[in-house]
Each structure stands twice: as C-alpha cells, then as structure tokens.
Symmetry: C2
DNA sequence: TTGTACGCGTTATCAC
DNA sequence: GTGATAACGCGTACAA
C-alpha cells in the first residue's frame, strides 16, 4: 500500500500538495495537478481512511445498529434497503453493525461506530431501554438517532410511529365488519412494539364494549413457527373465534398454515390480519391482510434530516430536529374479502 | 472525548502504561493497573479506534459487501444473520457496506472496507465479473473472499454451490413424478445464478428426452411481481403445463397467487417449486415446494476459515484455503403432495 | 515495572 | 502556489 509521501516524491512535490489535489481545497497549478494525478495512478495509491478520518475527525459515513435477531425478518430488509437507498445519492457510506442480543452489546455496537468516528449513528433498538438510550445520548458528542422508540428526555433524537394506533385500527376494522370473537397473537412481550400492538387491540374491544377474553390472547415470538403454536393453543381452548389479529406477518403466515392443516378455511371461516406488510404479503391475499408499518418512512425521514444537517454543516446533538416527535398513521393495506364469520368447532 | 494522555495524567503514569493495561501486553503492577482502571472510569475514556487501527494496522473487523438490490430478499437476511452469528462468538465486528448497483460501486465498496483496514473482506457479488474480481484480489494485500462465484484464477478465494445441480434435481424430481410439461421462470438473466438454474432445468429435460419448449420458459426478475407476470405470459401462450419451476421462492409465491386468481388450484392442478427456501416458505406448503440454497453454509464456511487463519496469525492472501473450491449439493426440502397433473385450459 | 520517543498516513496552519 | 511542520490518538521498541 503506497502512501501519500511516496506519491509526493514520485510527482516531485510535497505531501501537502498531494493532499490539496485530493481534497480540492487550496490552489494548485494545473501542471502540478497533472503530475500528481499521474503519480497517483502509477503508484496505485489509495488514501488511508483511518489516517484521514483521524486527522480530519470526520468520516463521511453513517452507522446503523440493528440486532441480528432481526436479520431474519423482512422487516429488517426494509430498514436496510431504505437507508442504503437514501444515503447512496448522498455519497455517504452506510455501515451496519450487529447489535447482537443484549443491551450491553447494543451499547457496544453504538460505541464501536462512534469510536470509528461515524458522523452519526442510527439505532433501531431491541434491548436498550429508553432511559439507557437517553443516557448514551448525553454521554457522546456525536448525534445518535433512535428509531421506533419514544425517548423521555431527548425527544428530538427519536422517531417513531403509532403501533398502538395501527393495531387499534386493524381490530376496529374487523369489528366493523361484524367480528366480535377476535383472537390476538402477541409478539415477544419484551418488545415495546408488541406491547403497543396488544394495547391497540384491547382499546378497540373496549371501545365497542366487547369484553376482553384472555383465552383469546396468546403469546407469540414474531416467528412463523410461533404463529403455528398460537393457533394450536387457541384450538385447544375451544373458544369461538372468527378472526385473528397476529402481531406481524410472519406469525400470520404460520397461523394461516396451521388453520389450513386443521381444515379451517382462511379467510372463509376465519379472517387473519398481520402487520408490517412484508414484500410477499400482498401475494398471499386474499388469505392474509396486513397493516403496513411505516418503518421505511421513518428511516427515510431520519436520514433526510441527518443529511440536510450534515451538509448544512450545523449538525449537533442539540438541534437534530426542529420539530419534536414524528408520528405517522399506519395504513390498512389489504382487502378483506371475507365478511362472514362462523363458529369454530 | 478524552484521550489516553488525559487518562495517563489522571493516573499519574505515562501513555505507554495505559496502553499496556488496555492491551494486556507487557508487565504492569497490579497497583498501577488499579489506578489506570480508575482513571479510565473517571474520564469516561474510550479508545479511538481510528488511531488504534492506524498504529497497529489491524482492526478486528471483517467487511461484507452486498448490493442493496438484494436487501429486499429473504436470501440476504440469511447471509447476514449467518455471518453475524458466526462472528459474534469471535469478538470480531461485521461491517456491512452497500455494493449499490454497478460493478464500479461494488469495487468502491470493497476498497472502502480495505481502506478502513478491515482484516478481510467478503463479497457477495452482483455486478463484478469474475475476471474483475480476480484482478482486484491481485491488487490488494488483504484477503478478499468471493461467495457464490467460481473464480478463474484465485480459486482458493471463492466458495460456491451448485445452482445448476440443484435446479437439475428439482426438475428431475418433477419428471420422475410424471410431469413432462414443466414451465420455467428465470431470474434476472444478468445474474450467473439465474443462468445456472436455467441450465439445470434444461439438462434434466434433455436427459429424459423431453424437448425444450421455449414457450414454457419465461423471464422473471426475482420479485413476487415478476412471478405474477410470468404466469400471465404462460397463460396467454396456452401451452399445456403441469408444473412450474420458479428460480426463487419470491417468484414462486407470485406465481402461486396468480394461479389462485385464475382459479387454478395449486398444487392440485399445477405443482410449483421454488428455490432458496425462505423462512416463510415451509409455512406455505403444500402449495409450494422449495429447494434449499446452501448460502448459509457457504457463508459459515468462509467465516470459519477466515477466523481460524486470523486467529492462527497466518492469514495471507496466498493461503486462505488449503482445499480448492467447496461445492455442496443442495437438498430438496418440501413435500410434494400432489402427484396428479392435468391439462391447463 | 515504567517512561521516552518515534512512527502510522493524513489534514491543516503556517510561513515563504 | 507551494513546502515545512505540527497535530490527530495510539502502539511499541528501546532505554531506564
């Protein structure tokens, strides 16, 4: 790996001049410019980013932390592809690192990115509590953005959407179509999103004076397999059911599969609705309906703002957002072809 | 951000001592160790990775380049989760950067990682030709591993599987169950994988003396939507069909959906088989069968070897693999419940 | 066991 | 326009 010094010698100039040519800052005569370019070519020179970033204290790259337990889901793909697309027009690099599976490891991932002098870090948290994140934001000079959690202190550092609201809408939608015996499959209950979605379901039932039957609520773990298990539990409990709200599409698919195996037609006898609207979901209808989670809009928004501030040169952790929290409503996305409902068993 | 020097002063020692404590190399008395740790704590000190890596010329991290056009697929999740899991026990960081959508950008992504002094770079190429990659490997001192392409020159730097073979098996499987009118939906034909899968299909037909009917071969683009379009084309052509081989699961799902809409039962009237075995695929059977792509095994294998050589301290681009190319057979993964086949229309 | 001093490859601030 | 030279924060012989 040749260095700048070697290039400088080859071109018969000083390091400083080579640096000027590369950065475009400062005056260099066209003649020497020419020579420097030639020398760079000949030497096969590549600037050492470590040295550059160390000296300049920036990096032109943005870090993203996501837990690898989320890598399986289509949800994750959405986050990543959105972030990458947004950033690529901007000449900045997106660096993803693994948040692994504990709060401690998530914190380390953030620090790693910070230690690498990323211009900013975006985290889609899975284990860190909002208080811990508030604390981390306090600790560091660099801007840290949190997606999908409402922080207590640094409200301008987070962006999230209304999971409770969208779950409420989904449930309400079913109720208005005549369903009253609606089961609910939760996500992993250590996730705020899972809790919010459950709350939305309950709120809708309450509003329509439908009693909450705990037998109709089963715990899932976000995976298709846990959707299968959930339907098994429901089936054993023998309660009447005409519709199922699954806390994500993966579980909805698992539930659908199990109902099929039990000889129960979907959506003929039981309607299912999921969340997140994974790419293949639309192709599974009419069996499955899905509520779109605006995750891509959130990521998109975060990056837009981050970029505009970085480019504007006035990024600091104090003024990331002028507005406070951004909440978007979710949208019901699939057609509900089945209006009838029947007793189970 | 406090520096090592500040910590040293606070602890009343020199930088070197602090460095020794941190690295564990060299002798330090327990007493001073104690003081240093205390000072680190007090100062909230974090080592600057840029400086550390610059000085030591390593980074304890491994780079991965994948094109963001692949981020949507479940295939990508598989790659990433596998890589992350493998690396996490090892204390090394995985850094993902976007290969975007051209050979040039893929090359830049590799260079970026190299310039960041990653210990090794793994690329899952989409645009770079094998010759270009051979050339890049020549150019740099650091080890670069290529997944899913068979290189011409540096065969020890790549790992791939037998896409043609698995496609052959899938087709043969259908033939042996009595199918003769088998349609094929290709992937994007600028992808070697797509070409190989098509070749496997053709080989199976040839071997059983079934003529290749170009009307039964339609081009897809890996997406569910293109699976829908493909079935539309097939339907219009009015040829007899009893089974469809789709070059991936996403397209198989799209195809399934379209057949449903046309009132054609799957797999009652037409069997479908896909590839890659995405996480939700098993839950879509018996409608859909899928051939597992051993991508996770490939990634796993690459990382295993990389790690053992990094830890062994004898990693160089000359001796990455002792064995040459690693090819694994793919496995038929889903049950084929339907054995009957009928005419279409 | 600990400290000194130099090197890593840049950027940036001066003079010239 | 261009060239020294001091940072940047850390590793590491070598000396003490």
């Amino acid at each position: 790996m040749s260095t700048m010094l070697e290039v400088a010698k080859k071109a018969g100039v000083s390091k400083a001049t080579v640096s000027r040519v590369l950065s475009g800052k400062g005056y260099v005569s066209d003649a020497t410019k020419e020579q420097v370019y030639k020398a760079i070519e000949e030497a096969g020179y590549r600037p050492n980013l470590l040295a550059r970033n160390l000296a300049s204290n920036k990096s032109e790259c943005i870090g993203l932390v996501v837990t690898n337990t989320l890598y399986n889901g289509s949800y994750f793909s959405e986050i990543l592809s959105q972030a990458a697309k947004k950033l690529e027009d901007n000449g900045r690099q997106l660096i993803l690192v693994d948040g692994k599976h504990s709060a401690q490891e998530e914190r380390e991932a953030i620090q790693f990115l910070l230690d690498l002098r990323c211009d900013a870090v975006i985290i889609y948290p899975r284990f860190l509590s909002i208080d811990e994140m508030d604390e981390i934001i306090d600790q560091y000079k660099q801007p840290i953005m949190v997606v999908n959690r409402k922080l207590r202190k640094h409200q301008s550092h987070c962006i999230c959407c209304d999971h409770k609201g969208s779950s409420y809408l989904a449930t309400k939608h079913l109720i208005e179509r005549g369903h009253r015996d609606i089961a609910f499959i939760t996500g992993s209950m250590d996730s705020p999103t899972a809790i919010e979605r459950l709350a939305g379901y309950k709120e809708a039932l309450n509003q329509y004076d439908i009693g909450i039957n705990d037998n109709l609520i089963v715990q899932g773990k976000w995976t298709p397999g846990s959707g299968v298990s959930a339907v098994e539990s429901l089936y054993q409990r023998q309660d009447k059911i005409s519709a199922i709200v699954a806390s994500n599409d993966e579980m909805a698919i698992g539930a659908m599969k199990k109902l099929n195996d039990l000889g129960i037609s979907v959506p003929g006898e039981i309607s299912i609705i999921g969340f997140d609207n994974i790419p293949t979901a639309p192709y599974l209808s009419p069996a499955l309906s899905s509520v779109k989670d605006p995750v891509s809009e959130m990521i998109s928004e975060v990056i837009n703002r981050l970029i505009s501030m970085l480019d504007g040169g006035y990024l600091s952790k104090e003024n990331i957002f002028t507005s406070d929290l951004l909440v978007r409503n979710s949208v019901i996305d699939g057609p509900y072809k089945s209006k009838k409902w029947v007793d189970k068993h």
